[in-house]
Amino acid sequence: MTTTPSQPGPDVPRGPAAGLTDPSAYEAPMPTERTVKQRTNLPIQAYRFAAVSLKMTRMILRSHG
């Protein structure tokens, strides 16, 4: 069922492992410094906590029928 792994000898310099994606290669956008800072900004996060709690409560109530 399984293929034999291609294994370079100890002295052979090898390239990156098969399928390894470097962070620079991700297509997704990098968050701006402001966005990253906002993620730990206490007043903003206190507000987000309330918003997330509301969303989750709505979901939970809906799922509890």
């Binding site: 069922m1 399984t2 293929t3 034999t4 792994p5 291609s6 294994q7 492992a17 098969a18 399928g19 390894l20 994606t21 470097d22 962070p23 620079s24 991700y26 297509e27 997704a28 956008p29 990098m30 968050p31 990253v36 906002q38 993620r39 730990t40 900004n41 206490l42 903003i44 996060q45 206190a46 987000r48 906590f49 918003a51 997330v52 709690s53 969303k55 989750m56 709505r58 979901m59 939970i60 109530l61 809906r62 799922s63 509890h64 029928g65």
Partner: protein, 485 residues
């Protein structure tokens, strides 16, 4: 008088047992059979695995809780079901072997009127040679495993502090694993700890997964509205990987693990090795090794259980192509099609098919996530089954009337991305429904207003709050039943 036997005291079984006790008066018996004396809030094992919590903070002994509520706890593991009884009795019964140190090895047959199989997953490390704590990798699936992972991680941090480069591989150890969300959480918690320790630059972190894309999480990915666009969990997850400098290997099946080296193949047919200093790879899950026997003693395991070892329930198990999958394939009452007094909840029930698209490598190796059954759905199933059994015992109905289909319920998931009251973060996600329903929600299969995601410190607070709330609830303290599943 009726006796209900619940096998397993995890999220689904413990929920079912407490609700059964609440709903049934004391003339009826509720028996819980579970091999571990402790209850474990498994989601917080992630924090045990990075040394932020001790095992004692994520566990508590079950017996005092059950004593207080009038539940008969037997510290034992179920080994066989006899749903038709035998020549002695026409009542179904379950064979158990005690793990309680005072009675270790003793066997017993416990008769039941109703039985709930909530035995969760068997951690199938054996599927990948060299995988797991008895091999060459660590795990966070149990609090004991997580504690060991934390010790090894501390060793890695010490080496990094001494200036030695280290490669950490975190992910799943087989092509058919589930629970990618937990692997994702552990990846970012480890990354966070390395940054906090000031050694991140010497560490290479690689997330190795069977997912086709980042953000799949075994649910085929999510779509949600953000800033006037419909975005994907792929983009969102990738962005986090990019920001935190985490490499990834997608679509991978680990073939075997040796000391410091793992062998893997990918969906496109290539194969390679990866050297590591630390590897936390989750095992694939299967059902516990329960057997089933008919009245005449013949083996009916294959009738009662699916080949995966999970209990067959009211799902549509007909094999069908992905484009014919329907929300209605998923079970809603979790009753066995063969025995109306046998139920399977939580991870222990056999799902009809995956949620993510199944895929195979050219040589036939399956490399795609199995469907996750997370905490909230597991609790909801436990509660629905408890209500149905109570209704049938008290004569309110003859058949199950309460439903808890994963295609009709949502899930709230908070994936920790680092602990700390002011520096922590987590990805808070809601999805509705868990199993996409393209008839109700054409295009994306899920509600775009009820499916949401965001990253931030608020998520960490939420995760911590859930930790406190669910342990309180599981202890059956005042008002426990008011806290939702």
């Amino acid at each position: 008088m009726a006796r209900v036997v619940v096998l397993g005291a995890g999220i689904s079984g413990h929920t079912a047992a407490l609700h059964l006790r609440r709903l049934l008066d004391k003339q009826h018996e509720v028996v819980v059979v579970s091999p571990n004396s402790q209850w474990n809030w498994i989601p917080s094992n992630i924090w045990v695995g990075v040394g932020r919590m001790k095992p004692s903070q994520v566990t508590f002994p079950l017996k005092p809780v059950y004593d207080k509520h009038g539940v008969d706890f037997r510290q034992a593991k179920a080994v066989a079901l006899h749903p038709e009884g035998d020549e002695r009795t026409s009542k179904g019964y379950v064979d158990v072997v005690y793990t309680d140190p005072a009675r270790a090895g003793e066997t017993q047959s416990i008769e039941y009127d109703y039985v709930v199989n909530a035995t969760g997953p068997k951690l199938n490390f054996a599927a990948t040679p060299g995988l797991g704590p008895d091999g060459h990798t660590v795990s966070v699936c149990t609090y004991g495993h997580a504690d060991e992972a934390a010790k090894q991680l501390a060793g890695v941090i010490a080496k990094l502090k001494a200036g030695q480069r280290q490669t950490l591989v975190i992910g799943v150890g087989h092509g058919t694993c589930t629970c990618e969300g937990a692997a994702f959480e552990y990846t970012f918690n480890v990354e966070h700890e390395l940054r906090e320790a000031g050694v991140r630059d010497l560490a290479e972190i690689i997330y190795l997964t069977n997912e086709y894309e980042l953000g799949d999480f075994g649910v085929g990915g999510l779509n949600f509205k953000q800033n006037g666009f419909v975005t994907t969990s792929k983009l969102w997850t990738e962005s986090l990987f990019k920001e935190r400098g985490v490499k990834s290997i997608l679509r991978a099946h680990v073939q075997k693990v040796e000391e410091g080296r793992l062998f893997y193949e990918t969906l496109d047919g290539s194969a390679d090795t990866l050297d590591f200093d630390f590897a936390m790879l989750l095992p694939p899950f299967r059902g516990q090794d329960l057997q089933a026997f008919a009245k005449d003693g013949s083996d009916i395991t294959a009738t009662v259980f699916a080949p995966s070892g999970f209990l067959k329930v009211d799902a549509d198990y007909t094999a069908k192509p992905v484009d014919e999958w329907k929300a209605g394939d998923w079970p809603s009452t979790y009753v066995s099609p063969s025995y109306p007094n046998v139920f399977g909840v939580g991870i222990a029930f056999a799902p009809p098919h995956p949620i993510s698209t199944p895929r195979k490598a050219p040589n036939g190796t399956v490399i795609s996530p199995a469907p996750p059954r997370t905490g909230m759905p597991s609790g909801l199933m436990g509660r629905a089954v408890a209500m149905n059994i109570a209704d049938m015992i008290t004569g309110k109905s003859n058949t199950p009337q309460h439903h808890a289909s994963m295609a009709e319920m949502g899930a709230a998931c908070v994936a920790s991305a680092g602990a700390g009251f002011t520096k922590g973060s987590a990805a808070s996600m809601t999805m509705y429904p868990v199993v996409p329903d393209y008839d109700r929600f054409p295009g994306y299969g899920r509600s775009l207003t009820e499916t949401t995601g965001e990253i931030g410190l608020a998520g960490h607070w939420m995760k911590h709050l859930l930790h406190v709330m669910f342990i309180y609830k599981a202890k059956g303290k005042l008002g426990w039943s008011m806290i939702p599943e």
